[in-house]
């Protein structure tokens, strides 16, 4: 009779399931800071409840313990099918082959959304699926540990998973309140377990004969080490939290999306310059505009400038902003003429989470995955997929302001736009002087903007994608702009940022959009409309300026690129020049590639998350492996020390006994519990093992008698123990265990906890 494995009553099992459930759903709450909304938590709760209470039900009908986890997995599958299977399932619960296909897609989407979204992430269906699946698997694991193996202390492991995740991803880590609640739930679980054990202990007393020794249950003694374990978990969580700011959000934003354009979202200029310098044009996407539009296609807008780096505002994805309907663009007044034109876009080799779209649009249809517009610049981002292979129709809102309307805007700027005029206190003298000069030449904001554009398009400036790199003033910072104004050679990045800086200097709100120029029509026709091809050499950056009543309007200061908008050419009634190709450029030598300026990276770290190093993942993996193997390593060291003590007969009997009981404990025997006397432990072991062979039994008795004599016998009568007996017993024990148990014993040597406990007690009694 092994008391701690004694069959639980239904009520006891239910109490343990309930406590495990509570621990899990509270631990999952730790993901709160990472995710938007609270619906996901209810989903996780529902899944955990289905698995754990379903498992309790299976136990209640006395299903063999080994089949319960299997049953729970089936319950999990049915639950996932119910929530996510949709029409592919039979009777809502039975998955079909199609359902698994759906699951596979959702899982892929979940992986992508984890790579792409920044925190707090919108819980798109695929992410919800990932969360539900993860919670379900954790629930099965927790149930296995608590109810099957009766090792509730180890339930801390599954509970730690959701707690540790925020520590990796955000600087603050999980909220302290959640940590405390989780610890409380963990202690509650232990408490319930202790109560259950105690009940079982009392219930079995009448089986025992009056005079035989009642076997001990480690009642009070199991609480302290488990509190210690919980504390260790919390400390680990907070350490991770404190020590991983450098990893921070970038894991969500970053390396996972490598290869995707602007995946880093930090310094789009660098990507852009590199792509422009590619010798071969890579087709990005093609489009068919029935109304003959040739708009710029914007990917993202960078509107924050700290003097060094232009960066996108750190806005998170808002799950309400579905792309089937867009709001009216900021600042667009009723007086401005607007028309709607559909454009069909087919993405080819462009892979990014930003959707190429004209600005502004009123709706986008036909996208796969979850796409949302950004509150400010109305750029469109995906939470769980990317542009590759997308085919969609954008309804472009063509606005056609007149010069008069723009002129009438004056210099009145609403509060919400004020931030887009911000510049560092000190601007280099050449910029300030030029701004003053251009500002004096005109009266209205609009005329000053036109003056800037005219100045930059003037004959003094030359387009070159190489010069800034060779002269190392690539980028868009104030120093770069000053240098550019001196060198007068550069490409769209320098032109756009110079115009944006000058505009801000003159009090006009400005930002820079990054995307593609209109592209080149091909001979292919669809319904008699030419298909327009856009490729990597059409990548472009252009400034947008804000005029009250009209909103954000693009300008084109880069000579020889794109089209100059009509409204920015006052008095010019001639037709717009055809789009020009950037002059072809020789491939850059590798050494000439723009270096990632480490200082700039640091400076940008706070705004949009650091660029993540590809080294991080292997390091994290390595760290995890080390952490996972740590118990095995410690155990093996302990084993070696004990064998050495046996050989040298340095309290050898004690060492041999501890090693034997440690091995038994690792293999899941209750005999290793430190609260048992050697005699009781040996009896428990024989009880459990029934079939321990004669040699093993002899070795067990020899070791037991030796340790009893060493611990309690008259001084000077200790007999040395033979290493052979220890080896014999340990081998016999391991021989009787299943391979799975043996592996578990190696990786999760629970005897380490017993060692800590025994050590403390003897110290307390010393």
């Amino acid at each position: 009779m092994r008391r701690d494995r004694a069959p639980l009553s239904r009520l006891q099992a239910l109490a343990l399931s309930g406590a495990t459930f509570l621990l899990l759903v509270i631990a999952v709450m730790a993901l709160g800071p990472l995710l938007a909304g609270s619906g996901w938590w209810w989903l996780c709760t529902a899944v955990a409840a289905a698995v754990l209470f379903g498992g309790a039900g299976l136990r209640a009908i006395r299903l063999p313990a080994s089949l319960v986890p299997l049953g729970e997995l089936l319950i999990l599958l049915a639950t996932l099918t119910l929530f996510f299977g949709g029409s592919s399932s039979l009777l809502l619960l039975v998955p079909t082959a199609d359902t698994f296909g759906v699951f596979g897609e959702l899982l892929g989407g979940a992986q992508r959304t984890i790579q792409q979204q920044s925190v707090p992430a919108v819980v798109v269906p695929s992410l919800a699926f990932g969360l539900a699946l993860g919670t379900g698997l954790l629930a099965v694991l927790a149930d296995l540990l608590v109810l099957t193996f009766r090792l509730p202390a180890l339930a801390a492991a599954p509970a730690l998973v959701p707690i540790l995740v925020p520590g990796f991803l955000i600087e603050d880590g999980a909220e302290v309140g959640t940590l405390v609640l989780t610890a409380a739930a963990f202690l509650l679980l232990l408490r319930v377990d202790v109560r259950v054990r105690r009940r079982a202990a009392l219930a079995h007393h009448d089986d025992e004969v009056l005079i035989t020794a009642p076997r001990r249950t480690p009642v009070a003694s199991s609480v302290l080490p488990t509190i210690g374990l919980a504390a260790a978990g919390l400390v680990a969580a907070s350490l991770l939290t404190a020590s991983t700011p450098s990893v921070s959000t970038s894991l969500l934003l970053g390396s996972g999306g490598q290869g995707a354009l602007f995946a880093r979202g930090v310094s789009p200029f660098l990507d852009l310059g590199r792509d422009l310098r590619r010798p071969d044009a890579v087709p990005a996407f093609s489009y068919v505009a029935r109304d003959g539009d040739r708009p710029y296609f914007r990917l993202l807008t960078i509107d924050r400038f700290d003097g060094e780096v232009w960066a996108p505002s750190d806005r998170r994805i808002d799950g309400d902003n579905a792309v089937d309907e867009f709001p009216t663009p900021t600042g667009l007044g009723d007086a401005v003429a607007r028309t709607q034109h559909p454009i069909d876009i087919t993405v080819q080799q462009l892979r990014t989470t930003w959707l190429p779209l004209p600005y502004p649009v009123s709706s986008v249809e036909g996208l796969d995955g979850s796409w949302f517009w950004d509150r400010g610049p109305l750029t469109v981002r995906s939470a769980d997929s990317d542009t590759s292979g997308q085919q969609y129709r954008a309804t472009m809102l063509e606005i056609d302001p007149t010069a008069e309307q723009l002129r009438a805007a004056g210099s009145r700027i609403p509060e919400s736009i004020q931030e887009f005029t911000e510049l560092p206190e000190e601007t280099p003298a050449p910029i300030a002087e030029l701004a003053a000069e251009l500002g004096a030449s005109a009266d209205t904001a609009y005329d000053r903007a036109v003056a800037i554009q005219e100045y930059l398009r003037g004959p003094d400036f030359r387009y070159s994608v190489e010069a800034p790199v060779e002269e190392s003033y690539d980028g868009g910072g104030l120093d770069v702009v000053a240098e550019f104004l001196k060198q007068r050679e550069g490409y769209c990045v320098q032109f756009a940022s110079t115009m944006a800086v000058l505009a801000r200097e003159l009090g006009i709100p400005s930002r820079i959009s990054v995307g593609y120029t209109a592209g080149t029509p091909t001979t292919t026709r669809v319904e008699n409309v030419a298909v327009v091809q856009v490729d990597s050499q059409d990548l472009h950056a252009w400034p947008e300026l804000y005029f009250q009543g009209v909103g954000w309007v693009p300008f084109e200061p880069t000579p020889g690129r794109g089209t100059v908008p009509d409204y920015s050419r006052p008095g010019a009634s001639e037709t717009a020049p055809v789009p020009e190709r950037a002059p072809g450029t020789p491939p850059p030598t590798p050494g000439a590639r723009p270096d990632l300026d480490p200082e700039r990276q640091l400076a940008s770290g706070g705004s949009a998350g650091a660029t993540s190093d590809p080294v991080v993942w292997p390091l994290v993996t390595l760290g995890l492996v080390v952490v996972l193997l740590l118990p095995a390593g410690v155990r093996s060291w302990v084993r070696r020390v004990r064998f050495r003590r046996v050989r040298r007969d340095d309290r050898g009997a004690d060492a041999a006994w501890r090693e034997a009981m440690g091995t038994a404990s690792d293999l899941g025997s209750a005999a290793g519990t430190a609260a048992l006397t050697p005699r009781e432990a040996a009896d428990v072991l024989l009880d459990e093992l029934g079939g321990l062979d004669d040699a093993g039994r002899r070795a067990l008795y020899a070791l037991r008698d030796a340790v009893e004599r060493a611990r309690y016998g008259p001084p000077g009568t200790e007999a040395p123990v033979s290493e052979a007996a220890l080896v014999e017993l340990v081998t016999a024990l391991r021989r009787r265990a299943t391979p799975v148990t043996r592996v578990r014993a190696r990786l999760l040597p629970v005897s380490l906890l017993d060692t800590a406990r025994a050590g403390r007690r003897s110290a307390a009694r010393a």
């Binding site: 009448d206 004969v209 009642p214 249950t217 009781e680 060493a710 611990r711």
Partner: protein
């Protein structure tokens, strides 16, 4: 007393096993009670057997006495029994014209006191005084009792009317209390056939001589009890004093007798040192009868799980940590 060398520990174990086997030919299926009785005998304590009539209390005492060739006397306690009926009286001898002491039934190695709770408190305390002092004082003359001197008293817990239950202080003098319990069905059936013709007690032959027993007792007293084991016994006793469910805890005498009984227990198992397991095995028989539960604990006790006191003692044993190693360890 004799010149024979004290037996080794293995021999004590072997002889004890022989005694137990011998007694078991008479009382089958009651090994625990037999072992407990022999433990008390080897530790020179006194034994209290508490059970309903007819389960073999007296039979156990008598067969044990016969097995070790002890002198036995039996006192049936009744309300009108006088102290001198127990200890003996001084009578006037006409021929010598002096008082001579006529020893009472207490002058035996093994005294069976049947239904001790039926005697008046005065008579009870006369016996109990003998138990403690191991001597009888009459008319200013001290008469030493034999060695070993073991009182096996029986008490009937059912028919309590007109009885004087032993007060706590008196119960404390008994080293251990056991109850016999009803025999198993097979044992009861077997008993019917063996006792058809004759009392089997007549068939029991001594397996150990008196001087051999005395030597065994000396060996037992030399069994080693290490510091951690003694600490453990003290811990247990202290735990009974602090327990919420107990009104009266174990006395220091209880601790002393617990260790002494544990030594006998160890020796009977052929071990020359005491294990915590020995203490554990004897905790209930040695401690339980000395403890008084609170009325609250009595009120809330579920009788299906056995006597309340036994449950409490077992809980205390379970909750008290076992000493891990000897004092030399660290």
């Amino acid at each position: 007393m004799t010149g024979m060398p004290d037996p080794g520990i293995d021999e004590v174990g072997a002889r004890a096993a022989a005694i137990v086997a011998n007694v078991e030919t008479v009382i089958s299926g009651k090994r625990e009670a037999v072992v407990a009785a022999l433990t008390v005998l080897l530790a020179e304590g006194h034994l209290l057997i508490e059970d309903v009539p007819g389960v073999g209390k007296t039979m156990l005492a008598r067969s044990l006495a016969r097995s070790v060739d002890l002198t036995v006397s039996r006192i049936q306690f009744t309300p009108d029994l006088l102290p001198s009926d127990v200890t003996g009286v001084s009578v006037f001898d006409q021929s010598t014209r002096s008082f001579t002491f006529k020893p009472g039934p207490v002058f035996a190695n093994l005294v069976i006191g049947d239904e001790i709770n039926r005697a008046s408190p005065k008579t009870q305390s006369a016996l109990l005084e003998c138990m403690e002092e191991r001597q009888v004082t009459a008319d200013g003359v001290t008469h030493r009792l034999g060695r070993p001197f073991v009182v096996v008293a029986t008490q009937n817990p059912v028919e309590m009317e007109g009885t004087y239950p032993l007060p706590e202080a008196q119960r404390d003098r008994f080293m251990a209390r056991i109850s016999m319990g009803y025999p198993a069905q097979a044992d009861e059936l077997a008993m019917l056939s063996t006792r058809e013709t004759a009392s089997p007690i007549d068939l029991v032959d001594p397996v150990v001589a008196l001087d051999e027993l005395q030597a065994m007792i000396r060996t037992v007293s030399r069994v080693f009890a290490s510091a951690p084991v003694k600490e453990y016994a003290v811990e247990l006793a202290r735990a009974t004093r602090d327990d919420r469910q107990l009104r009266l805890g174990a006395s220091p005498r209880a601790t002393l007798q617990l260790v002494r009984a544990a030594k006998a227990h160890a020796a009977m198992h052929g071990r020359d040192f005491v294990l915590p397991d020995d203490i554990d095995a004897l905790a209930v028989p040695v401690l339980a009868h000395r403890l008084v539960p609170t009325s609250r604990a009595l009120g809330s006790h579920d009788h299906d799980s056995g006597p309340l006191i036994d449950t409490i003692v077992r809980r205390i044993v379970t909750d008290t940590p076992v000493p891990i190693g000897s004092a030399r360890r660290d």
